[in-house]
Assembly symmetry: C2
Homo-oligomer: 256 residues x 2
């Protein structure tokens, strides 16, 4: 049996940014929530895995925002698994407006880790056995070694982060979306005021925990493209690398 | 005509804290959203005021959380204005569980400011004229000079904040709830792990903006009570004072 998750989200005021657009972090939280619900239907939710001593880890998430919905609009998030391999499971997302306009889409790759050993395992049989929905064209599989280079000599913006209480989720990890908030906070104000995020490709390398000190580095590779890295400055260990694409802000004039 | 706002919120995973409880900041965001919707029904929403060159400012918000709802539960937020005076308008909130248990309640005081002069004005006639719902017992009016003292010699925890993009709302101000997140981040880990927030009384003094540098100070006045202050460290200007009450964590054992 296969499951396609569809949830509606009526956009609330506090989920919007300074220009009245749904914030990219709120959008990613909606997508994460719908993914969790779909996993529960499949019997592979967070607590299903916890009973076996396993946890989910997001490896890569590539989001494209074609058009920003605004305060008061209701959007639909549709998500389902697309491929199941020995180590990885892939999941796609579509975000639709009232009139079925495709507002955003994303593809993602996940793995399972052993919560005691803190190491990756092959997907357990009860996950391997799941049926992905048929009749839907999946997005291409993301590979786990995308070419995202950060030239440290060209780093324009840095920000120190102390991982605090409000970023920790029920798994005692930093919420995957919290990193995106930190990346956005590291970006200079002129860019945030004149451009909008069109695409972000996130590669998660290491989990982080309450009390960790992190350094966020953002580089202006070109006008439209930024590369980012979050690292543990003490060990130099890479926590996340990312690349973001920016375009001229399209609908600020619609702000009320 | 009078209006009572009732909204239901199905609690999502990312709205919960590390122990699976609805986070106090998510709860306050729900209450703020329902207050906005109630104001729209009354014709005194943010954009109604903006057309007259006015804006709302929250002066005091006193929240009591009697019992934390958890992931997957649906709660109801009920809110309505209770008193309208020359300068101030009062608003109450109740948060109810599925079985009508009172989970939380709050009272609040608001004023109107002139967005050009950035100064307080008497409530305009179209607000003064509104009818508060009848037949509901209002909570006592909050005064605007509560006795919250911060003994600087007893400050235990401090935190520097750079006001960033993700804290700015559609009015180009810092979201009222963002301050609460910063207060919580300033509190030591042992308290957050062993106690839960039972009550928070927030007195807002000055608005802050994108790029401001703030200092958060938290004092352990006693085991159960903390005093807090957020200030502009350069000018020494007070941004917010607050007092929080803590009790033993009541339902962590219910976490899954």
């Amino acid at each position: 049996m296969s499951f396609i998750q569809t949830d509606t989200y009526a956009i609330r005021g506090y989920e919007c940014d300074a220009f009245g657009r749904l914030s990219s972090t709120a959008l990613m939280n909606f997508m994460q929530e719908s993914a969790n619900r779909n996993a529960i239907d499949y019997g592979i939710g967070i607590s299903d895995l916890a009973r076996h001593g396993y946890g989910w880890m997001l490896m890569r998430f590539r989001l494209r925002i074609h058009q920003y919905p605004r305060y008061g609009q209701t959007i639909r998030v549709v998500t389902y698994p697309t491929f199941v391999e020995k180590y990885f499971i892939y999941r796609d997302f579509q975000v639709l407006g009232d009139d079925d306009t495709l507002l955003a889409d994303a593809s993602s790759v996940w793995l399972v880790f052993d919560t005691t050993k803190r190491s990756m395992v092959a997907l357990p049989a009860f996950i391997r056995a799941l049926h992905v929905p048929t009749g839907i064209e999946p997005m291409p599989k993301l590979n786990l070694k995308p070419d995202i280079q950060l030239d440290l000599s060209a780093v324009h913006e840095t920000k120190d982060i102390a991982v605090g209480w409000t970023s920790i989720d029920q798994n005692q990890h930093v919420n995957n979306v919290a990193y995106v908030g930190w990346l956005l906070e590291s970006i200079n104000r002129n860019r945030l005021e004149t451009l909008e995020l069109a695409e972000i490709d996130l590669v998660y390398r290491t989990e982080t925990h309450w009390g960790d000190q992190l350094l966020v580095l953002s580089q202006a590779s070109s006008g439209a493209t930024l590369s980012h890295r979050i690292e543990h400055p003490l060990s130099g260990k890479e926590v996340l690398v990312a690349q973001s694409q920016w375009r001229a802000t399209s609908n600020v004039s619609a702000a009320t």
